[in-house]
């Protein structure tokens, strides 16, 4: 057997990057595994009960819910992204697939995305310069698809001072640049 492979983050570094710009802190996350879960046709109820039994939250439209191990957010009718710790779920399909069996289609999405967690005291001011999301009036746990500087993203509001953005992994540097420039413009 050959030697194993080393991993790089979406920003091309060995370790995730953090940027602090005034009151804003942008953290690249490299410790979260991600999979899509989509109900097979006619098996929606099975998916819901299997998820409930396994503690996988599958919330309603535009919602994110965190559980003790798994978190999930809605991305399309009968389709969710499920998060889990990377350390225990690197091969997340192998772990999640047995929970649903043939009732759901599971696809690994971990490395399709770059994840940035943004923390700060007035994130509404940042978000209004980034994308068409009414962050100030959104409830905690709001999750939506949006576009930031031409890049399709998911945005999740955890609190008024904490959000997560998932963007395409290949444009991680461009997305970080957009976040940095926007944050700096608000100082």
């Amino acid at each position: 057997m050959a030697d194993t492979l080393h991993a790089l983050t979406a920003l091309g570094q060995a370790a995730p990057q953090t940027r602090v710009i005034g009151p804003y802190r942008i953290e690249e996350r490299f410790d979260v595994a991600l999979a899509s879960v989509a109900s097979r046709r006619g098996r929606e109820a099975e998916v819901a009960s299997a998820a409930a039994a396994a503690g996988i939250p599958l919330p309603g439209p535009a919602r994110f819910t965190a559980g003790p191990l798994y978190a999930g957010f809605w991305v399309a009718p009968e389709m969710w992204f499920v998060e889990a710790p990377f350390a225990s779920h690197e091969d997340i399909v192998a772990v999640v697939k047995p929970i649903f069996g043939e009732a759901a289609s599971i696809t690994e999405q971990t490395d399709a995305w770059v994840r940035f967690d943004v923390l700060g005291t007035n994130l509404a001011a940042l978000v209004e310069k980034l994308c068409n999301v009414d962050f100030a009036r959104a409830a905690d746990g709001y999750a939506t698809r949006t576009v930031i500087e031409h890049m399709g993203c998911y945005l999740i509001r955890h609190t008024s001072g904490a959000l997560t953005i998932y963007g395409g992994r290949s444009s991680a540097q461009s997305l970080l640049h957009a976040l940095e420039v926007t944050a700096a413009s608000l100082l």
Partner: protein, 970 residues
């Protein structure tokens, strides 16, 4: 003398004196001044030259409707042309120059145009420059453009940055005059999310320019107090210096916030302007009204101004435009100007059209010196240095007509008011709705806010309104003064005169739309804010129709001009679009790779080695090394779509033209996708990873299109199918490993047995690399023994390094997109140049792939008679007969001896490369009946080359290299 025309009062900060320059001369003004008010305070009335006749001009207005006082603001790279001096906020060090004048503003050589006015009437260009036609573009137009014009661009890069943003609210209020403030207070107190935007740097609208009282205090003070209350409300966002430029769909409004225009240079890190997109649930237009002039002879001299503007300069800015003033009015509001100016100690003569009095002419070459008055048959000339004109007020209906609603005529105020069918969710209040008194503004602002919020289920209270004047509009329409030569200006920015409108009428351009285009009325940067209604009223008078019968043109966004830089925002230079980087990007950078943009991707085009000075050296080396031993290429950019579900196989059979249901688990197959019209639009391989699980690859260019089409098919065409889709393009780093030693190299890297027996041609399956899960596909684009190996993207960098290390003994190289292109042409594979949207599978020589045993998208229409023509285009290979013959993509096939005319056109070369393997140029091409012409000679003719390039070519099979495919099955 400094600020000789500055008088007492006003809302300027006299403790802050600002220095500025205009046309090289230094002046002083105060904080709170505009450039126009400061110049007027210094006795400067002449600020520009007119567009066509180069007539001396000063400001007509005191606001954004200004047609005349346009200047170059700032200098160097920050110079901005066509800036309205009436809204340019004064700052210390401001620098402005007049425009459209040479050699100087006071002596402008092109003022000769004014002498030639008899010739330069409406339609002059259309009538004069028709012949000869060829002269128009190269001679006439450049001369006309140079002579007639506004400001000039510096052609230097704008050093400032611009931004964009998104806002959301229950109620957007456009304009912060009495109506807007009243609406905002009502909605703000009700707890609604409110945005109050105003183009001025100080809120209050006309209240700042009046001496009227509101609630027992000066109007300006009342406005300031309300702004303070609103500023304290967390649910209200005040946006001064912000112009709502347009109403777009679904309650979306565009807004330009001038963040730094009031500063010499933006503060560090700050933008000059921000373009906001405001998502409103409801909107109230409280944009006020614009006064209109009356047309009389020489009514455009510096010092002739709208009466309300004279009043504004006196009341808001403490400026007397002149000491001896005349006011020509047809309504009571003009009398208010006279009254206010008298109160400031100025000498005022009123000429009231309602009493049979009118101004018939003026004098003063560079500024008003006198007016000639006809009063009930008696003519007299009086000396004066300012003339205020009031022909009534036009509600600012502009934004209500952005969705093509036509304003309607309201006789009582002799003006157009918003039509009923304006943008959904937008209502008007105050003067914009035709309520021209202060009380009317306060009352309608409150009422419209309550109504808008009631629609949203938000209860708002009608608080007692403060006391305010409620004078009726006493107006007797008067549009123009008859009896002159017609040199009475209607649209001052485009130099449209009464005579022009008369000429348009004589030549039967009587429709308002024709009038507009024939005379250019209302087509300048001010969109005819002061001239439109006047022009059509004159036309109504000339044709004997009423104004409603004559109708009106409508407005389009933007409300006021917007700089291109503002629209571009951050999307300029390297930030025009984001980049997508491949997993091997870092490694490729270290190797000095030359990158090429492929959509948003940056791909290695070639990777030069030391000593290589020409791209062809690198590409030839990469091709030869791959064919000789092994080459590696990052193919992550190809679209990857995960397709699962019990109907996945049946679904693939519908979207691919060829059969997929029979594909075994662990195998992959090349597939063609057709559009509904039967033309090929994409190709790629799809692997079956499990009973109900596939991974499809698409071309890089069509990754999004294919995914979108599959989603459409899944959701709309066959919603009953059990199919789930998701893109995995970026989830996997994928590398092609090609060449005779590909397997030997991979055997050193892959943990499993990948011998030909264990992993045959077109095999696909899970593998591991150093224990890391991966995928292997035995497919080939290059024609070599080849594989594509994939690992989770985070391991892509490690994989390419590992492959190169393991490949050292085989002299492995990494090749770029150019070498990839050479090898695919050598192998006869189609790519973007052949997948041109006009080619069928039959054209590509792949007709047999379209299965008629099943239905699939595009199958039926691919069998149209014309598409099955045996003499239609067929993909062929092309070689020069003489090895040094040069080929050019795009060249056309002509038979030997045939003339280069369309009737003899045989087709064209689609892709051309230099094949280091064959040692000559080779190409692919579409040739009529090409399959019947293999082995014949033709000419490849490039008619675009000078001289025309001709090469004698041999038509060959498109498979230049290993036609039997022995290498890839090896």
């Amino acid at each position: 003398m400094s600020q000789s025309n500055r008088i007492s009062g006003g809302q300027i900060d006299r403790s802050k004196t600002l220095s500025f320059r205009f046309d090289g001369k230094s002046y002083q003004g105060h904080a709170g001044d505009t450039l126009a008010s400061a110049l007027l305070a210094n006795g400067v009335r002449l600020m520009g030259r007119s567009f066509k006749y180069h007539r001396p001009r000063g400001p007509l207005s005191a606001g954004s409707e200004e047609p005349n006082a346009l200047v170059h603001l700032r200098s160097g790279a920050r110079q901005e042309p066509n800036t309205r001096a009436t809204v340019a906020e004064l700052f210390d060090g401001l620098e402005a120059r007049s425009q459209n004048a040479w050699p100087s503003l006071k002596f402008d050589a092109l003022a000769i145009n004014d002498r030639l006015n008899t010739f330069l009437t409406a339609g002059f260009y259309y009538k004069t420059f028709m012949w000869p036609a060829a002269f128009w573009e190269k001679l006439y137009e450049p001369i006309i453009r140079k002579a007639a014009g506004l400001g000039a661009l510096t052609r230097q890069e704008d050093p400032d940055s611009y931004d964009k943003g998104f806002l959301h609210c229950d109620l957007l209020i456009i304009g912060a005059g009495p109506a807007g403030l009243s609406a905002a207070l009502t909605a703000g107190r009700a707890g609604a999310q409110v945005i109050l935007a105003d183009e001025d740097f100080r809120m209050g609208g006309r209240l700042k320019a009046e001496t009227l009282e509101v609630g027992g205090q000066a109007g300006a003070d009342w406005a300031a107090a309300q702004v303070l209350e609103l500023a304290a409300m967390p649910n209200v966002r005040l946006m001064p210096r912000t112009t709502i430029i347009g109403a777009f769909d679904h309650g979306i409004y565009g807004a330009v916030e001038r963040v730094s225009d009031h500063l010499a240079v933006p503060m560090k890190g700050k933008v000059r302007q921000t373009l906001w997109r405001i998502y409103s649930r409801r909107a109230v237009l409280a944009g006020g009204a614009t006064e209109r002039p009356i047309a009389f002879e020489n009514n455009d001299r510096p010092g002739v101004m709208l009466a309300g503007a004279l009043r504004a300069y006196a009341n808001r800015w403490g400026v007397a435009v002149g000491r001896k003033v005349a006011v020509f009015t047809n309504n009571d509001d003009g009398l208010r100007t006279a009254s206010d100016l008298r109160a400031k100690g100025l000498e005022v003569r009123v000429i009231d059209a309602r009493k049979g009095e009118e101004v018939i002419d003026t004098s003063g070459r560079l500024g008003l010196k006198s007016v000639t008055i006809r009063s009930n048959g008696k003519v007299e000339t009086i000396a004066c240095d300012a003339l205020g004109v009031s022909g009534g007020w036009n509600p600012n209906v502009n934004i209500t007509s952005h969705h093509r609603s036509r304003p309607v005529w309201e006789e009582a105020i002799a003006a157009f008011v918003p039509g009923e069918d304006g943008p959904v969710g937008l209502t008007a209040a105050g003067a914009a709705a035709g309520a021209l008194s202060t009380h009317g503004a306060l009352a309608t602002g409150q009422a419209q806010a309550i109504a808008a919020l009631a629609d949203l289920g938000i209860a708002a209270k009608a608080d007692a309104l403060p006391q305010a004047e409620d004078a009726p509009v006493a107006i007797s329409p008067k549009w123009y003064v008859a009896g002159g030569k017609g040199r009475a200006w209607i649209d001052q920015q485009n130099d449209v005169t009464l005579k022009d409108v008369k000429l348009a009428q004589q030549e039967n351009f009587t429709s308002v739309e024709h009038l507009k285009r024939y005379t250019t009325l209302g087509m300048a940067t001010d969109q005819g804010k002061t001239g439109n209604v006047l022009g059509l009223a004159v036309m109504a008078g000339l044709t004997g129709k009423t104004i409603p019968e004559t109708g009106t043109t409508i407005y389009r966004p933007p409300y006021t001009p917007v700089a291109m830089g503002t629209l571009a925002g951050r999307s300029r230079g390297k930030e025009f679009k984001p980049f997508r980087l491949t997993p091997s990007h870092k490694w490729a950078e270290e190797q000095g790779a030359v990158f090429v943009e492929v959509g948003m991707w940056l791909r290695s085009q070639w990777l030069p080695k030391a000593g290589e000075t020409h791209w062809r050296e690198s590409v030839d080396r990469e091709v030869l090394a791959t064919r000789k031993s092994v080459g590696i290429c990052d193919v992550t950019t190809l679209g990857k779509i995960d397709i699962q579900g019990t109907d996945a196989a049946a679904f693939l059979d519908k979207v691919y033209a060829n059969n997929f249901a029979s594909l075994a688990v662990g195998k992959c197959r090349y597939g063609l996708m057709l559009r509904e019209d039967g033309m090929v639009y994409d190709d790629g391989t799809t692997a079956r990873l499990g009973e109900n699980e596939y991974v499809m690859t698409t071309t890089t260019a069509n990754a999004v299109l294919v995914f979108r089409n599959l989603e459409y098919a899944r959701q709309v065409l066959w919603p009953d199918m059990d199919v789930q889709l998701i893109s995995t393009t970026e989830a996997w780093a994928q590398f092609s490993v090609a060449g005779p030693n590909a397997r030997k190299l991979l055997e050193k890297v892959v943990d499993q047995d990948i011998s030909d027996a264990a992993f045959p041609y077109m095999g696909a399956g899970a593998i591991t690399v150093g224990g890391i899960r991966g995928r292997l596909f035995r497919i080939s684009f290059s024609g070599e023994l080849a594989y594509e190996i994939a690992v989770p993207t985070r391991y892509g960098d490690a994989l390419v390094r590992k492959l190169m290390e393991a490949g050292r003994e085989f002299d492995a190289i990494v090749y770029g997109t150019e070498a990839l292109g050479v090898m695919r042409v050598e192998k006869g594979h189609v790519a973007g140049n052949e997948l041109n949207g006009q080619s069928s599978a039959l054209n590509m020589g792949l007709g047999k792939m379209v299965s008629k045993k099943k239905d699939s998208i595009g199958m039926v229409l691919s069998q149209r008679e014309a598409l099955l023509d045996p003499n239609g285009y067929r993909l062929v290979g092309v070689k020069p007969v003489h090895k040094d013959g040069k080929l050019t993509a795009g060249s056309h096939f002509l038979a030997i001896g045939a003339a280069p005319v369309i009737e003899n056109d045989g087709g064209w070369l689609t892709s051309k490369v230099y094949s280091p393997h064959l040692g000559c140029d080779i190409a692919l091409g579409y040739l009529k009946a090409g399959d019947q012409k293999i082995g014949t000679q033709m000419r490849a003719v490039n008619l675009l080359a000078k001289p025309v390039q001709e090469t004698l070519v041999e038509i060959v099979s498109p498979h230049f290299f290993d036609p039997e495919g022995e290498r890839l099955r090896g």
